[in-house]
Symmetry: D2
Subunit: 405 residues, 4 copies
């Protein structure tokens, strides 16, 4: 007899990072009760009654290459970024210790030198090939699912950004890529795509919350469709880009001509440290920078800078200056400063995505999920970048899902 409950697992790549540990603390807090659901999009009225799993029932696990535990990560964030209430941390410490048992060694295959340096853990296995890595990682996910008797597991990539990875001919179809996976040479796939492939082999929906490549490889997308799985990405829209995605349409709707849009982002967490590498930064900047011109059209001068400022730790401060032209050539400006805590902004969206993706998988969705564009800076297979339209698409999907039940 099958359980009627809808038990889902959330498997994070980068499980004990700042986002992962905030997700862990948040899930524990939601399970224990006494905290608000602020920040959880999936808790809003339009998404009630469509069959989403209860966040208090989501079981967390994941891959990690560093040795810091979930509890340590939470304490470090508290100390350096001034976040998390002392009483809440105390109450949830046992849960974090328990969840720690669901964390498995990730892979160092296909990571850049910066990320490799972050892994001080000597116990990370050295995978001989991409195929070997995929097999090991997918068996971790399957074992997690069995052990916790989960109906399905959603894999969400929340590890650090990777440098750009140029695609070759072998990445165009699964049959060609499959052959290459056994090669002992590195460089067949970046780590994020190895994790994506492992998720697919483990029959999991895959979500890429980073600007890394992940499932955005034609061969991997093909494989996901073959296996009947949904996926989505890229790059969670948590802060500055979120604001852009509502302000840029405002200028467009008012026929105000955006001349320039300059953004300066400063942050001090590991993501910032990794982005301090110019190549990696380049791929992040690309997804952040494109959005304005995509929404307002024309050819405004757009610049996005990202600087690593360790004292900020998990806080991201973004200053955007918009220079625009109104009637009779008059130049005016709008500037904003966003001061947000990255992991706190990301964590509820990760939980949202787990809920939405699990439901989509349950209902037989296959391929990219453009109705989740709302959550991403660079949504796969979607040209919709303004937030209100993305919201409308998500609500439409929810309404259809509700009426289909």
């Amino acid at each position: 007899l099958r359980r009627r409950s809808n038990r889902i697992g959330l498997w994070l790549i980068g499980a004990t990072g700042r986002v992962g540990s905030a997700v862990a603390l948040g899930l524990a807090a939601l399970r224990r009760g006494g905290v608000s659901r602020t920040g959880l999009v999936s808790d809003l009225p339009p998404f009630r009654g469509i069959g989403l799993a209860d966040p208090g029932n989501i079981v967390l696990g994941g891959h990690e290459i560093r040795s810091e535990t979930l509890l340590e990560a939470v304490q470090t964030a508290h100390q350096k970024a001034g976040i998390f209430d002392a009483a809440l941390m105390r109450r949830c410490a046992p849960d974090l210790r328990a969840l720690q048992r669901n964390v498995r060694a990730g892979t160092l295959l296909g990571v850049g030198p910066t990320i490799r340096r972050l892994s001080e853990d000597r116990r990370i296995p050295r995978d001989a090939s991409a195929r070997a890595a995929i097999e090991r990682l997918s068996s971790d996910i399957l074992a997690f699912r069995r052990r916790h008797q989960l109906d399905r597991v959603v894999v969400i990539h929340t590890a650090s950004s990777e440098p750009p990875f140029p695609l070759k001919a072998m990445h165009k179809s699964w049959s060609r890529l499959e052959k290459a996976l056994s090669r002992r040479a590195p460089g067949v796939l970046p780590a994020s795509s190895i994790y994506a492939a492992a998720a697919i082999e483990a029959e999991s929906a895959y979500i890429n919350f980073t600007p890394s490549l992940g499932a955005s490889v034609p061969a991997i997308e093909e494989r996901a469709r073959q296996r009947g799985l949904p996926y989505m990405g890229c790059d969670g829209k948590t802060g500055e880009t979120l604001v852009k995605s509502v302000l840029a349409p405002m200028f467009a709707m008012r026929n105000l001509n955006v001349l320039s849009w300059v953004g300066q982002n400063i942050l001090g967490n590991r993501d910032g440290e990794v982005l301090n590498d110019p190549k990696t930064r380049a791929s992040k900047i690309k997804t952040k920078d494109r959005i304005v011109a995509r929404i307002v059209g024309g050819s405004p001068t757009t610049r996005v800078s990202i600087d690593y400022v360790p004292s900020l730790d998990d806080w991201k401060v973004a200053w955007d200056f918009v220079h625009f032209e109104g009637f009779l050539g008059t130049k005016m400006s709008l500037q904003f400063t966003w001061a947000g805590c990255d992991s706190i902004l990301a964590a509820p969206l990760v939980i949202d995505l787990a809920r939405f993706a699990a439901l989509a998988q349950q209902r037989g969705s296959v391929g990219a999920m453009p109705h989740l564009a709302f959550f991403f800076k660079d949504p796969m297979h979607s040209d919709t970048h303004d937030l209100p339209s993305q919201w409308a698409a998500l609500v439409d999907w929810a309404n259809k899902t509700r009426s289909d039940r």
Copy 2:
């Protein structure tokens, strides 16, 4: 034989103010060509082919109580606010002189003491009663329409803000108000409502671009419907509130809890001077302050300050600080500074409203036009305050209008 051309007139209350003179210069520039249509919402693709009048064909006139001419107003703005290109001003000077001939004396009946002080013009007639004023003012509009052979005239109120005006029993129905109009006592109606009544008597659509009362008197609305006329208001959404109307929905869509939203507005034009009067400021602040709670719900702390800073002249600088709570009770912030030139932002919207209202009247619209909520801080008969929804309503109306042609 009737002309097939769609000739419309735009009659401004406050004709030679900063907004009025910017409209005049803009219409002249559009007629002469060589300037862009940036800032004109009605020029965007969704509104093409629905039958709007060409802005170059709009004839301007209006009521005014001050003696400054359109040309002088433009030159003062240039000198004090640094706006308007010298070459453009030179080219359009003859047009401004010609349009000046369409300006008629407004009324001092029902204006507050601050506005009365602004009128140094001894030639303003002293109207014996509201009825007398309405008759004189409406005959000015009718004469303008005949003289320029206009198909219809849209009256738009762009004069300074009035202090709040409490409604009494007599304002509830036209039959009761009509009797009161003949009284020789002042205080039957504020000036803005006298102009609204005059517009209606002259068979003109009436638009209130200010927070003053205007047509928002049940008796006057009733009269407009009796005479088969459309109207709309209140208070053009040009700057800080415009930004709020896209940022507030962002917080709502992301389930982020807005704790406080504080806005400080500084401006130096006549509007700022008039708003320096605490009573008048109160009515302006009301329309500016309500919007956040209406969009995000709950009971955030909201404050709006307006200060008169003469050195800014026609520039309005607004600083907004939004304090919001995310996941696990974490407090974060967003702040923005808007630096916009008020008359430059308002002028194209006034032209848009003239085009949209004339088309609505031509197509037989009667009563409030909630599809124009997009343009107002406090739209009449509308609960829609977020800009994307207002935009959708305007585009819907345009699509219906197009398919009805």
Copy 3:
């Protein structure tokens, strides 16, 4: 035999408020070691070797009218404002409990209605007259000094701001005021001045860290000189005004013409709540607003707004917009946003003032101490408002003190 050590006491009016509890935690932390002396001006090189008491040796006591303890105040600040490290609080909790024994009941005589409302403590004695209050309060200070074998005690007023208090003829000389003190009528002196008088009777230097009247009564100043005591105030310069006091001189030195300087302050602590009363706010705004014109001369438009925004708790956010004119009449702007934690900024300055005032008293200073102008928004008997000049005066005094030893 007299102890050679320089043991000083710090007696706070408003002992368990946000500033008081931060001072208590700070002194405990400094005594236990392991924290930096960041924020303590008196720890900078120019003030070494002049004979200041060690902060770790300062004993804290004070008057209070509310029932919240030091430890509770610290915990509330942690929870609401996100300040104070959990580990530090845990380590210093015993010290806070011990210091709590030095807190005595303040007076409700001469407080405004807002402050009276804050006192839920039924055990506050009802003083029959100002004289009775002065006697009771000064005997508390003297008992504290004896009990802890202190060489001297500095009294610092850190209670909430009072509404303006108009001076009368009786306030002009001590002989006249002394007679009035016995009257049973309220309104002879505001509470802050009763505390100042009590400090003087207890042979203590008195510092007014608030904009309240305190010692700024000619009769009380006369009495302090009679008793050979030093005093200073008013209103600690912790945030926005501090920034003004370096930026305004910059414009002056560059011959840039400040046209307008508008400041908006928002804060959410008890000070903010008390300042929500328009009368009290008026007196605060006066000391904050005057500084710009005093430094740059001329008659710039200056405005200071203060708004109570509870969600900010102890954080003060100030936005200042400076509109200035440069060469050939060109208007430019500078704006800044200060985000500071009020009690954290004030606490080290309170410790500094205790050290500086105790040393001044020890060296026989009598009357106002203009060399401490550096610490105040509205320094008594000083026309120096720019920070660099105030700093130079403080360093000069330190150098003289050092060479006199």
Copy 4:
């Protein structure tokens, strides 16, 4: 018989650039009267009666490599940056045309590729060697002096920033450099140093208002001392760095620990265009970035970004974010946005420097003038970076000069 008047010339390198043309318009306006002296430091009370030349008597000339005239430059600035009053421009147009006759062809020797590209003027002579260039340029200055019967001419470098130029052994002494000057190879000296050498040969004081090398070559400094001439630089302190030089000392005086100071500069004039070249930008960033650590000590994270944003034209917008630590490890922040018009800020300082340098030369000053550090981001032979100390040094010099008369 010698004229008793104190007639000075101001020879600008980059004569018809934005700064040069603003200086020209400003001098013309001051001569004609009716404009204020706002922005002229040398007009402040401390500098009266020390013998400075009247700005209305300063004759302008200079070298230029582009073909745009002074009048055209002023009109372009008006049109693109919205500066300069139309009436003022009209009144001074004849003066600008007259001054244009004092402009001579500069040199293309030693300029970088970006600057070479800016010179569309085919009439610029091709100098065969640095020596040839120096001779030609110095004879232009001498001819200007003779023609206008000037007592002395101050040469001020206001041309675009050059890329960094590494010094070699030959640059260490004048005797070695002199030999190298005749070489036909390029690369002996950057253009800015060729102009400095020409100034010296023409017996002129030399001021470097840019971050280019100029006189900061040991051999050239030696030569200036040999010829008994004063000089100073580098890089006029007009905007963001000016603000830093008063804010950084504030943190130091309050013992607040600056953790990070990040600055983002955006500008759209030719300087911005030239700085778009990464190499040239590097040298500019160096002088802008060093100042904070020099003032506050320690090792704060400091970053300065400069981005070219054409729509801003001559406006520079700078956003600075200061992250600082106060008492008990509490992190707080200050951020500011500066919106200044570069040429308008620079022009009066250029006039100030001409007046101060001419007086110094008249009084026999030889070598660097550290009392002028007040005007520079990276003052030669000076360790004083905070503005108040620099101001004090300038006033001291003025007082000494006055008492020596």
